[in-house]
Amino acid sequence: MDAFLAFATVLMQPQLLALVALGTFAGIYIGAIPGLSVTMAVSILISFTFSWSVYPALALMVGIYMGGVYGGARTAILLNIPGAPSAIATALDGYPMAKRGEAGQAIGVSTVMSVIGGFVGIAVLAVAAPLVSDFALRFQPRDYMFLAVLGILLVGSLSTGSLVKGIFAGALGVAIGAVGRDPLTFTPRFTFDLSLLNGGISFIAVMIGMFGVSEALLQLHHVDKKAIRQKVGRIIPSWKVVRKHLPLSMQTSTIGVTIGALPGTGGDIAALMAYDHAKRVTKNPETPFGEGAMEGLVAPETANNAAVGGAFVPMMTLGIPGDAVTAIMIGALFIHGLNPGPMLMIDRPEMFWFIVGALTFANIFLLIFGLTGIRLFTKLVEMPRAVLISLILILSIVGAYAVNNAITDVYWMLGFGVLGYFMRHYGYPLGPVILGVILSRLLDDNWRRAIITAREDWGRFFDGVFSSPLSSVLLAAVVFIFLSHTPPWKWAKARLFASRIK
């Protein structure tokens, strides 16, 4: 009963409800603007809400978090610039839909699917938080490494066209991610003795440049072509569409909540893995992946919003952040005089239920705000190209500057934009570059931790792998997925399949 009362606190106090709504609304737009991140917004809010009591402060932060994770999809679909790293996979099929004049429909689907994913994440948080956090803690450095290798194998899914070019692009990304002082030993890598490179290259600047500026440059080729007319028919997806994708959305939500609950990974990796999963399980998509497949939109959007609930799992049960945003919220709890840690659930269970309640209402507001104003947004793509291109460039520059308030990031962004343009021109896919940058540190750091722990002894390393069920399963998954991309496997599968038909 106490739990229910705490859950419903948001509903009982109109002020809290209004703050959740305000947060969600603001979050959508912060998330949609590349460079403005939820992490940044929440850390600004810590000072801003300092004198408030803890409930209103958290209500606003939770709203912004939920809205922000969803908001990244908007610009990804409309302009091919992911508003946030977790929306990279959304751009792959969302933008082709917009180019066909189905931007409204794409946003509608992404909204409904985000809400479904969000609810799965919240349900797991509410019902199974202690269980999931126990599982998440079990991940050792070697398991994170295997996860990163699984991620690297996604290059196959993200490469449209030549796989070799995809692998090249992925490797480039991994190298970009390695630039700067190595975080474990502080040894400079690829810095060429330039102090500018010591801090590494801002990943967000790379992303904005590669997607935003290269898109603007590419559009210059067709500057005189008439803009695509957007269909303004049905925007809210029909029940039939939702039901058709329900099984997939449940699977990808599970991926999202699990990856989100792991302290070392977040919504960006979850969304990419979900995209790959969708590509593997969807036998006959109506439209091929990469050209505007609905499944390619469903998977990342459910997964990244499910990861929100997941990120709260270790935060609420153990005081361990599930991602950057929950790390800041833990700081906020400290500042408000609470002691987040394993005892919080026992000493202050009402805090847990309050968060679950706030997340639930934020998700409901997400559905409302997400489905309104779509027509206005789609008008964006109908603007004359000259205006649209300028808009993309301005957004990119402002976004890159906002990340660290540093003009160098703008130069990086422009440089990678030009590089991205030529890469696209010569048929190199850009998705794998970003994938490589995201996974670079996860792979590098955890591989080193794993092999250092084994005293750089391979025997000891594999001993550890095979004595842990979790590591064994992950290794098996790596081997299986790798083999399934090789010619002998495909040949064997074709034969097996053929014989069954006879």
Binding site: R138, Q140, G331, I335, G341, T453
Partner: protein
């Protein structure tokens, strides 16, 4: 939302400056936090600054500028004008930059506004480890060389200093040192069993100890800590630690050298009063930090001694890139 926040901030600023008589501050003050959002430094700075704002009658906009063990933020502030409108909010690390080869600037290029608090190191172990205190750990390491996994946070981090102390006192330990991005991820790994032992700051480990998800082996201090009175001090196991302790990380706020004296004075007065605020005192206490609240010569002396002790300790342990001698840091 950005506009709402900025709007409110500027509204607060206009309201605040209207009521102000002196001429500092006349505009927003920027606070550069060397470490990431949600970390210890971040929490301390964001907790104390609003109280200082109230005294100053101005606004301090705080921003995290991470990277290079805090050197990115430090260099940024060093490049700004010495007018008191850019504050550096950091921890102890810059005092090691020179010997670690991380940069040529440290706090000697800055004037201390306030050294707020210091932390006490504690050695903690995972729940399923066979040793229950410091002495048992030492026996276990001697009996099982190359087995125990210590968490680390890179050269110059707190674990590297504590490990250097243990090596100095007990002789070189045969253990595995596994590096992590910070004490948060390392303590997570400790609870998951990826490492066995971690030297951490008390504030980061205290909730885990209270909940029983990790066990304390020894407090690295000369006196028992009142937050955890039952945890024995490391000096009770080995007298030799008396020469090296007390030692601990600290948090401080700085401005660039050359900032006008009256500006420094009003900042010092504001933060000194803020540090005495009851809410802040309670937060510091809850997290197991020790309040310092010192400025001026006292702060300079403290940092001087800290730098001498720590750099020479690390240098003797062979983890530095340069000798402290090269920078005129005397052996204590």
């Amino acid at each position: 939302m950005k506009y709402t926040v900025l709007g409110s901030i500027s509204a607060m600023l206009i309201g605040a400056t209207g009521a102000l008589a002196q001429d500092y501050p006349t505009k927003e003050i920027q606070g550069i936090i060397q470490w990431g959002a949600g970390g210890s430094t971040d929490v301390v700075m964001r907790s104390v600054t609003p109280h200082a704002e109230a005294v100053l009658g101005g606004t301090v906009v705080m921003q995290n500028m991470t990277g290079g063990v805090g050197a990115i933020g430090l260099n940024y502030v060093a490049d700004q004008a010495a007018d008191g409108y850019t504050l550096l909010m950091g921890a102890e690390n810059p005092l090691l930059y020179k010997v670690m080869g991380l940069g040529d600037k440290d706090y000697s290029d800055f004037t201390a506004i306030n050294l707020l608090a210091r932390g006490t190191p504690i050695l903690v172990a995972g729940q399923n480890t066979p040793y229950n205190d410091y002495a048992e750990l030492m026996e276990f390491i001697a009996a099982n060389p190359g087995e125990v996994r210590f968490g680390a946070t890179g050269p110059g981090g707190l674990p590297s200093v504590i490990t250097a102390m243990i090596n100095a006192v007990e002789g070189e330990l045969d253990v595995i040192s596994v590096p992590f991005d910070g004490d948060g991820p390392a303590l997570t790994a400790l609870q998951g069993g990826a490492i066995d032992v971690m030297p951490a700051v008390l504030g980061a480990a205290i909730e885990g100890i209270r909940a029983g998800t990790m066990k304390p082996l020894a407090m690295f201090d000369v006196d028992a800590n009142e937050r955890l009175p039952d945890v024995p001090t490391v000096t009770s196991f080995n007298d030799a630690y008396n020469d090296l302790l007390p030692w601990g990380p600290f948090f401080g706020i700085f401005v660039k050298n050359g900032t006008p004296d009256d500006v420094v004075a009003s900042l010092q007065a504001a933060y000194s009063e803020a540090a005495q605020n009851a809410d802040f005192v309670e937060m510091i206490d809850n997290r197991g930090f020790t309040m310092m609240n010192i400025a001026g010569d006292e702060a300079a002396d403290f940092m001087n001694r800290w730098q001498q002790n720590t750099t020479w300790l690390l240098h003797d342990a062979g983890v530095t890139q340069n000798s402290p001698e090269d920078f005129g840091i005397e052996r204590p």
